[in-house]
Symmetry: C2
Subunit: 189 residues, 2 copies
């Protein structure tokens, strides 16, 4: 045990880099957005200001949005999506929405008071080529050193994964929808 | 597109079950506890009362705890752990702490006003046999129908996975600790 403790202490001491991360949550399982909300909550508890841009989800009320509203000016929340193309059936409109969301994201990145920025479902917008991948990655990499950015969404692009500091793949070992559950308030939204 | 929409509508209509879930977040990647906090935030936004029992982590201040404190009586938070055995070097003390945490969890399960209960790092306590697996699973399965329980921690036991409605495995595609980053406030705690 003492040896293990000493090794652990040495390992901790070897880790010295402290700056904002580019974090990617991807994969088919649940937890991509909720883990981003959890990071948001953690940041708020440290007194940070945070930003959220939702690239796909449309303007419907969610529990997370209502709860973050309790933090007033500490949270800058922007739901910019129109839903998915198979709902809107209008790709041009979806692209325009994604571009407006990206413009909002860039605006928030320039806000020096912000320490955490959540780009929810950005990977979906990139997957459908609603936004130019190379430009998006360059801008994310050029973030201020103290800014952490979290990108969520399935099928994260390999170039985005390569650019990220931390990538978690949420694997769906078991999903209750397959067992006939419906989407429920408080659990899915 | 119309066919896809019709198929999707039919699929949604086929899903009729609505009740509290047993959710497991496991795997080596980041996001197990933060996704639980995100679910907690979502639930709070719907006006639910939630409970949190931390089985392993000791009594140090985290951002999530400070942020949840803003919700007053809506959150019942209990940090019951003493750290890990390789820190405390006292297995008997760790087992006593885990048993006290489990007693608290059962108490919260009996609180009919509670809709979500997060059992943070319970899988760690089960892995080290601090608690009787069969009893724990039976109690979790016998929860009130309206109560959702989230269990976090690496190496979730196969019997727990079998009993769960929804299991996400957080895979560590890339972790910034490996690149020399240290644990940072607002990101790791």
């Amino acid at each position: 045990m003492e040896k293990r403790k000493a090794l652990q202490d040495a390992e901790v001491a070897s880790k010295t880099i402290a700056r904002g991360l580019l974090i990617v949550h991807t994969g088919p399982g649940k937890g991509k957005s909720t883990a981003a909300w959890g990071l948001g909550l953690r940041a708020l508890g440290h007194g940070w200001r945070i930003g959220v841009v939702q690239f796909i989800k449309g303007a419907w009320e969610t529990g997370e949005r209502a709860a973050f509203a309790r933090f007033g000016d500490q949270v800058s929340w922007h739901t910019m999506g129109e839903g998915f193309t198979w709902e809107t059936q209008d790709k041009a409109r979806d692209m325009a929405a994604a571009q407006a969301a990206w413009a909002k994201a860039r605006e928030l990145m320039a806000d020096e008071g912000l320490r955490l920025l959540i780009l929810d479902e950005l990977s979906i917008a990139l997957r459908y080529d609603y936004l130019p991948l190379t430009e998006v990655i360059e801008v994310l990499k050029a973030r201020r050193p103290e800014l952490t950015i979290v990108v969520t969404g399935r099928n994260a692009k390999p170039d985005l994964i390569a650019a990220a500091d931390c990538v978690t793949e949420m694997g769906a070992v078991k999903h209750h929808f397959a067992a006939g559950f419906k989407a429920q308030a408080g659990i899915e939204f």
